[in-house]
Symmetry: D3
């Protein structure tokens, strides 16, 4: 599947924390850590676990820009 | 200002393209390019231009995860 | 690629309207029309055009529920 | 109330699962299942339960497009 | 229609600016101005114009919190 | 830090409810209550508690408009 989301950043899963229905997954993208909040169900379906290769995917309209 | 968004990735602006009301800003985050779709007005207020240091900011609930 | 987004609805593109930087793409999902607002660039990369098979993909945290 | 969201898909609730603060509600839209992640509080206020008519509402800017 | 979005802030439209496909609508909520980026089509369907009563509607998962 | 998000509404925290991984924070913005769904971790990092000054921050593309 090829998706329209402009941001598909390749990295490696470094943490998976499951809550009651929502999990937090952290992916190391060349040294920067990206946190995703996804369903527990998605974690299971994708077989996400520490060390696995994964992409952080973000739609361009969900990215903000900040300056110091 | 300190914000709750889990993802605040530091980088440098590499492209700014303005449309009628919406602009696309690309930020280089340690080699990965992140594209943000923000208002032209925000581009002007933050003084965004090529070469400027900037953060790509994304709420954790807006990040998806994909695997090959 | 397999993605965490809970909603991946299969259908057929019925309209593509490009703006200055943002396009609106309509997909017929078994009779319901879903409208996506994505970048012109994504439209080109995915080769979206009327009649093409496509999925409308939505993260569960972006779906609201309403009742009459 | 009439809302600007382009996508208001009519269906029937087929599952409601409450977590600690966040619930997952599934709606059958003419055979496709749409999953919404909303607050437990919203579930209570709208009286959402299996069999009830409901709409899945999604802003166009939150819809991505994918192709095989 | 009753919607699950936790934030439905009543106010008055103070500005409508249309772009190629996307419009920016500003609503005065008891002195605070809220800006919405919606489709031109939604502006037309809702008959949005300066002076009209309107709600700014935001899903709780799209609200971030910041402190000075 | 200065951020591109068009909506930065100043108010005071009136409630903080933590779930398993996700918290709900309510902010009083001049009489209107805005609910934010953020990570427990963000609540801790920002030191959010009842009575504290805070901003509700929302990207313009995440605001919908409704009329009666």
């Amino acid at each position: 599947m090829k998706i329209s989301a402009r941001n598909q950043l390749k990295g490696k899963v470094v943490e998976v924390v499951k809550g009651a229905t929502t999990a937090h997954v952290r992916i190391d993208i060349g040294g920067s850590i990206v946190t995703a909040s996804i369903t527990n169900q998605a974690v299971d379906e994708l077989g996400l676990e520490v060390g696995k290769d994964a992409y952080a995917v973000v739609k361009a309209s969900d990215v903000m820009v900040a300056v110091d």
